[in-house]
């Protein structure tokens, strides 16, 4: 063994209900290195970490840690063995003091009672390593997010961790706080502790990591020194595209005639809200499919939510059909002719206990009612029409939606919006988690809707979908519109380059 390995995972398989989440995945971390673990949604990063920390049981493969075979059955056991995990959402006990949080689970005792003096001293000593001075007797929730993050890390190190896993630790921190965190990571490294760093922000990886492991579709696809791999290369490995590779049609989208597009229907200028959306401008014409491309956390969904008034924007203006458009809530947006199919079907789309018909009529229902009383007959006509038009496979309008497959649920939700006869339909990852057949059907449907004059904003993490489906592509990166491309310009290379290192200046 030429290198000093702390952790070696090899050939790890994991299936959930028969569906593979990890396929022969491998992961190696050297002593005292900062190692980035990256991949798209569903690539298997979280599953790999959860297998390592004993949260999930692996189906096959070997894990060795610190030179010995490693097998744990719970995160607590992993922690005791020297692997600590800090999750994206900080899991501290908010009402308890810093000391209690840091020492939770390994309290010091004297004469059978808690030795508060020793515990406070220990907490102060741990925090001092990160140049943080805080009153350790105060409840954790009184401190800033960054300090809380440090407390979580101090807690992890307090367990004599040899390996600290940080799952998107910077997502709730501002720039200065990120700087402090990076100092801490470098400090840990200097002390010989290894760090696994999960993040979608490429710049951060280059700032603090030594090596990177890239996962895709449950496999480990690439391991490299971070200094030896370019951002574009990193993104293409993550997405599974080779640079400048040519291939045929991969989706059900077919070419459209750009001359058929109508005038501009919707335009947004300089939208902003919080740190997720900083300055996004885009427009959509009648009959056009506009695509949003970008990495996770680029602000695509957040931008769509602003257009639909699901979240409040802090800046920017919008116009719809030439007139100013300033909705206060989704109710206004729907009244103005917008529809929004969310990315998370289960949490924000379906009402699981309701029937197909009830789900489909949710947005249209008030319009089909006479003085507040539901017109069952008219509803039935509309529902039957869409079940047929979208070829939804269900036993009938009264079947519970939760009994349907993902693809059919998605079609019901599409029906919910189409029934309102919208002018602009926003589709956030319309084909995610849907089987191949239904995927093609939905793509063909989107195209035919646009052919009939509907303006569509499609957010997709699948490059083919954006390239082949969209008439115009807007690339977002860290809350900024960094590029706008026509169908002819939108090649994989161009989009990936913009996703990886585009800047707003390039878009002008």
């Amino acid at each position: 063994m030429g290198e000093d390995l702390l952790l070696a995972m090899a050939g790890v398989d994991k299936r959930f209900a028969g569906i593979p989440a990890l396929i022969g995945a491998s992961f190696e971390v050297r002593r005292g290195e900062v190692h980035a673990l990256i991949g798209q949604n569903g690539a298997g990063k979280s599953t790999l970490i959860k297998v390592l920390t004993g949260y999930h049981k692996k189906d096959a493969g070997s894990v060795s840690f610190d030179g010995k075979p490693f097998e744990v059955t719970s995160p607590q056991q992993a922690q005791a063995s020297g692997i600590s995990t800090i999750y994206q959402e900080i899991n501290l006990v908010p009402y308890r003091s810093i000391t209690e949080n840091i020492c939770l689970g390994r309290e010091k005792r004297r004469f059978g009672l808690l030795d508060w003096g020793a515990m406070h001293a220990e907490a102060e000593r741990l925090l001092a390593r990160f140049n943080i001075k805080a009153d350790v007797r105060r409840p954790v929730m009184e401190f800033s997010t960054a300090t809380q993050q440090m407390v979580a890390i101090a807690r992890a190190i307090g367990f004599d961790a040899k390996l600290v896993i940080m799952d998107e630790p910077t997502s709730s921190l501002d720039e200065r706080e990120v700087g402090v965190l990076f100092d801490v990571i470098r400090q840990l490294k200097a002390e010989g502790v290894s760090v696994v760093f999960v993040s979608h922000k490429l710049d951060e990886l280059y700032a603090v990591c030594d090596r990177v492991t890239i996962m895709r579709d449950g496999r480990t696809v690439r391991v490299a020194e971070i200094s030896g791999i370019g951002k574009l290369d990193l993104v293409s490995s993550m997405l599974g595209r080779e640079i400048a590779r040519v291939e045929g049609h991969a989706t059900a989208f077919t070419d459209r005639d750009p001359a058929k597009l109508g005038e501009t229907l919707f335009a947004a200028e300089h939208l902003s809200a919080g740190s997720a959306v900083r300055d996004v401008s885009f427009s959509i014409r009648r009959g056009e499919i506009a695509g949003f491309a970008g990495l996770l956390g680029a602000g695509r969904t957040e931008t769509a939510r602003l257009a639909f008034a699901a979240d409040k924007r802090s800046g920017g203006t919008m116009t719809l059909g030439g007139a100013p458009y300033d909705p206060a809530s989704p109710i206004d947006a729907i009244a103005a002719g917008l529809g929004f199919c969310t990315e998370d079907r289960k949490a924000e789309g379906i009402v699981p206990d309701m029937s197909v018909a009830e789900n489909m009529m949710l947005a249209l229902m008030p319009k089909l009612a006479k003085s507040g009383i539901i017109d069952e007959a008219r509803q039935r006509v509309v529902v039957e029409k869409f079940i047929k038009a979208l070829s939804i496979k269900c036993s009938g309008p009264n079947q519970k939606i939760r009994e349907l497959s993902g693809g059919n649920q998605q079609k019901v939700l599409l029906g919910r919006w189409l029934a309102t006869e919208p002018r602009l339909l926003i589709l956030d990852e319309p084909t995610r988690g849907i089987d191949v057949g239904a995927k093609g059907e939905i793509q063909a449907l989107i195209k035919s809707l646009a052919d009939d004059g509907l303006a569509v904003l499609m957010i997709s993490s699948e490059l083919e979908e954006v390239i082949e489906g969209a008439d115009r592509v807007f690339v977002l990166r860290e809350g900024l519109t960094v590029s706008e491309m026509t169908r002819a310009e939108a090649s994989e290379d161009a989009i990936m380059a913009a996703m990886a290192e585009g800047s707003p200046e390039a878009a002008r």
């Binding site: 924000e348 009402v351 949710l362 947005a363 507040g372 036993s395």
Partner: protein, 332 residues
Amino acid sequence: MTDATRATVIERRPINPFDLLARYGTVIALVLLIVFNLIFTTNFATLQTLNVNLTQVCTIVIVAVGMTLVIATGGIDLSVGSLMSISGALAPMVFMSKLFPIGNIYLAVALAIIIAVGVATLLGLFNGWLIARFRIQPIIATLVLFIAGRGIAQVMTNGQLQTFKVPEFQFIGLGRVLGIPFQVIVMLVLVIIAAWVIRKTVFGRQILAIGGNEKASGLSGIAVKKVKLVVYAVSGFCAGIAGLVVIAINSASDANLVGLGMELDAIAAVAVGGTLLSGGRASIIGTLLGALTIQLVRYTLLANGVPDSVAQVAQAVIIIAAVWVQQQGRSA
């Protein structure tokens, strides 16, 4: 034709006995109780017994109707008992002209009802405002009036018992129409209206949608806050009416006692009736049957010489059994 073939496919799925139990369990329990009583309880099959049971269950059902709507949105209303006591304290003050002189007794009674129920409705609206506007958890938000409400009623009456003999008012609790106690009619009317609202109106559908998935409902253009406001106001309205029924029966209003423990009786009736406490489903008829079942169990035990304290334990057992059956039906 395709519909017919589809239907047969569905029927071929194995029927889960717990599903049937969950759906019809309350009815089965009620029928069994009636049969048991017909055999063992003397004088059970009399109009007298029916009336006793119906009048006793009335107030619970009236409150539970509002509670069902609240629970269907995924909320809960602990303040109903206290709102009953406020309404019960307020009405006699009006019709006995303690607040301001009113010459005509009919006018006085009408005003008393409107003011008492109106105030209870407004207080319900206040609950909804706390919940919708400030996103306070319903159990905490309604705890405010649960605690303060009874205190307010006592302050209004100086903690004194108000007794009265006003037949025009007491008709609510003691009167009969075609031999049916008036309060039973009030109860039935409320049950029918609420069941119709849930089934046939946009508002009812929106209540269920919010309970089933609040985020999806908001994104589908449902005015989530407004619906919640109305639902808690309706719960206050029902509690206000129930408070009047109680004092009319007793010809007295004791702010300490009116509606005491009612919130729990109502929640129990809703739970036994098959409405999920997590929201998204509502069965008003189920609530009625649930309340009747609990009442009949109590009556059966009392009529057969079992003390009330034991009857309460029996009530608890029914609730546990009902919730258990529901969970079996769901998980399978």
